[in-house]
């Protein structure tokens, strides 16, 4: 996609993509099993902490403080990173960020980079951009590797291959890994071992690594990555050059602010008390770790998002994926239906905002991909009121649309009728004619768009007497 943007949007609109996904029963089973398990575990891990609510409030407050004064914190971060021997780059959009990574990789004389899970680089389509420039990117996170080898797309923030089951993964490995044992089974241990052997060679030879960042501390210039396999640690320490691509909203003021997020994140995402691997690095240290460290601060629509006082709360997101795991819509459609690296409830509010004016039909359909059940808000560790933002973005979509769309006309007519009790009673009377369509007290088929309802549901026949008519007759 030209200009700024989130890669691979432009798939069919959500309702269409969802229909395809809904028909895939294997996908639905895989997702249901995975989300049900993690949902239960998360609830347990959260219930262990007596101060979960205060922690959420603290997380929200820290992020809001950062967003309110983002420029200052970023400059402080830049100064601290530079003072410790790192180099900071600012990238307005995907194209700029990709160019910087490609240039730095060439300067390091490499044609291959190892990568540790980074949503930001997926957002900007870095792997594809590098490939065009003759550089191969190797994903080292197991789930990312599965997605990459399967020539697939990530469908979950934390478990990008959540839509795959073990035997599917075994097939992908057998097909794509040259050195995989013929008789490999679908035991998780064997699969992980195969991946480890495959990656070891890459770690030892790679000159350049690319990472994302979960947090960066403005005061000290420290960058933090949390992961569960330890492969990230290899990327962060073995290569000569380390390039980190980080969304500008990931900055936190001080080291002690991290404490809050290092509690909120693991319990929300993997239901663990503590993250297995938390790597922190600050600039460069002679004789230890990478010789060169570059930090790319990525905007790509974030500044515009910040300007929207309701929508900006999406920038508090710490990518824990708890909202995906509880979302009844995500559970049934999977991540691909959202057409973005950010699927599920957070994707539905973040993607259209990051795209801004580039918003297309797919992105515009995302805020409607929710029944507004509120489960996402309830679990979000930084208290993003996702339903509020969804409705806000719907209002923006309506504004951008033709005022004479059938929906807008119907809504206006309804509001007009409801604006006055007499007009409303008349409208109810008209609706009562619906009785003519009914048989045995139910309506089983309506013309379009009501047909979308009656495809799977009956409607009750309107009663002979409305409540207000009853009240007037008996009490009035």
């Amino acid at each position: 996609m030209a200009g700024r943007g989130v890669t691979w949007l432009g798939t069919p609109t959500f309702p269409k993509a969802a229909r395809t996904a809904l028909a895939d029963t294997q996908l639905r089973t895989n997702l249901r099993n995975a989300t049900t398990t993690i949902r239960g575990k998360r609830a347990g891990a959260v219930a262990e902490l007596p101060d979960w609510e205060p922690l959420r409030l603290a997380g929200e407050a820290i992020k809001d403080e950062v967003l309110a004064d983002l420029g200052t914190y970023l400059e402080r971060l830049e100064a601290a990173v530079t003072a410790r021997g790192g180099v900071v780059h600012w990238a307005r959009d995907a194209v700029e960020a990709n160019e910087i990574v490609l240039r730095l990789t060439r300067e390091a004389g490499a044609d291959e980079v190892v990568k540790i899970k980074s949503m930001a680089t997926a957002e900007i389509g870095l792997n594809e951009a590098l490939a065009e420039g003759g550089v191969q990117a190797v994903e080292t996170d197991l789930a990312e590797l599965i997605v990459q080898l399967g020539e697939d797309r990530p469908s979950h923030i934390l478990v990008p291959a959540i839509h795959r089951n073990r035997s599917e993964i075994r097939e992908i490995f057998r097909r794509e890994m040259p050195d995989v044992p013929e008789d490999i089974t679908d035991e998780p241990r064997e699969l992980a071992e195969a991946a480890r052997r495959h990656l070891r060679q890459k770690f030892l030879t790679a000159k350049v690594a690319v990472s994302g960042a979960n947090f960066a501390v403005a005061d000290s210039g420290s960058v933090v990555v949390v992961e569960s396999e330890g492969n990230g640690r290899m990327c962060l320490t073995l290569p000569e050059t380390l390039i980190t691509v980080m969304g500008i909203e990931k900055v936190v003021p001080t080291w002690s602010d991290l404490e809050v997020f290092l509690q909120l994140l693991p319990r929300s995402s993997t239901a663990e008390r503590m993250n297995p691997y938390t790597s922190v690095w600050t600039g460069v240290t002679p004789g230890d770790g990478p010789k060169n460290f570059h930090l790319i601060l990525l905007d790509n629509g974030r500044t515009d998002t910040l300007a929207d006082t309701v929508g900006r709360q999406a920038l508090r997101c710490i990518r824990c994926s708890a909202c995906l795991n509880v979302c009844p819509v995500y559970e049934r459609t999977g991540g691909a239906a959202y057409g973005s690296v950010y699927p599920g409830p957070i994707g539905a509010i973040l993607t259209p905002q990051l795209l801004g004016e580039d918003v297309d039909k797919q992105a515009r359909s995302l805020p409607y991909a929710s029944s507004l059940c509120g489960a996402c808000f309830e679990v979000c560790p930084v208290r993003i009121d996702i339903p509020e933002v969804l409705v806000h973005l719907r209002a923006e979509a309506v504004q951008a649309k033709n005022k004479t769309s059938p929906e807008a006309v119907a809504m206006a007519a309804l509001a007009w009728a409801m604006g006055d009790a007499r007009r409303w009673a008349a409208a109810q009377k008209a609706a009562g004619i619906g009785r003519l369509l009914s048989r045995g007290g139910r309506i089983t088929s309506l013309p379009w768009p009501g047909s979308k309802w009656t495809s799977s549901r009956d409607l009750p026949a309107p009663p002979k007497e409305t409540f207000r008519a009853w009240w007037r007759r008996t009490r009035g």
């Binding site: 969802a18 409607y368 719907r394 809504m411 409801m418 799977s456 009956d458």
Partner: protein, 243 residues
């Protein structure tokens, strides 16, 4: 506590499609000593407009609501979703929300304001309860409806599997994402039929319309009945299925 005057906010769905629920609320509240009024100027809380992206239309309806209900000590509505709109969203749309603040969902009003859980009801049926999303998460009515149901004589309450998952209604979601909505409904209905309950109850007629529409299509033999109708049913005047 004696509430002198209670205004019933019937909600557009109950007023138009489920008058029996409105009648049940009146009967129940009068039985408990309230003086109930139905301000005839009322129409709709504006939730559908708000949620679909038409906040201006919603704000106009919200202003009407404020005006119409402002003179009452308390407003009661048989809908967690509409009361959620009124109490949680009106403050974003209006400057003054006095009536909104005094608005209660039925189970909240009974338990918190009137202080009763045994309302003297009789309902000899096997019942399962679906906690609708807005009652559950927006209003946090908690176990109030269950406590009310447990005190009903003759009623056998059976737990609904995965009770807290959304039924897939979501207002215009049911139309705009009809396939996903139906998939959610299918799972909800599976849970309901597993309970072998005769009656499905909830505090929201819109969700009951959705789930009931699916039950009816499948001829599942489960009747959707609003909580108010169960609580208003007595030995002398028992609830009866509509023909």
């Amino acid at each position: 506590m004696v509430v002198v005057r209670v205004a019933l906010f019937a909600t557009c769905v109950t007023d138009t499609l489920y008058p029996r629920t409105g009648q049940a609320v009146v009967r129940l509240l009068e039985r408990l000593g309230c003086e109930v009024d139905f301000p005839a100027a009322q129409t709709c809380c504006g939730q559908m407009h708000y949620n679909t992206g038409y906040p201006k239309h919603a704000a106009a309806l919200a202003a009407d609501y404020e005006r119409i209900f402002t003179e009452y000590d308390a407003v009661v509505a048989p809908s967690g979703s509409c009361v959620g709109m009124v109490r949680e969203i009106y403050p974003k749309l209006l400057d003054s929300t006095q009536a909104a603040i005094r608005s209660h969902e039925l189970s909240e009003f009974l338990v918190d304001v009137l202080g009763v859980t045994d309302v003297g009801a009789y309902f000899p049926h096997r019942v399962t309860y679906h906690p609708t999303c807005h009652s559950l998460r927006m209003l946090k009515v908690g176990d109030r409806p269950m406590r009310l149901l447990r005190a009903v004589r003759g009623l056998e309450l059976v737990e609904l599997p995965e009770a807290e998952s959304c039924c897939g209604f979501g207002g215009t979601f049911a139309i705009k994402n009809a396939d996903t909505s139906s998939a959610m409904l299918t799972d909800k209905i599976k849970g309901i039929t597993e309970t072998r309950a005769e009656v499905l109850t909830a505090g929201d007629n819109s969700c009951l319309m959705h789930i009931g529409g699916g039950l009816s299509r499948l001829r599942a033999g489960v009747s959707p009945v609003h909580l108010a109708e169960i609580l208003s049913s007595t030995e002398e005047e028992p609830w009866q299925a509509v023909a």
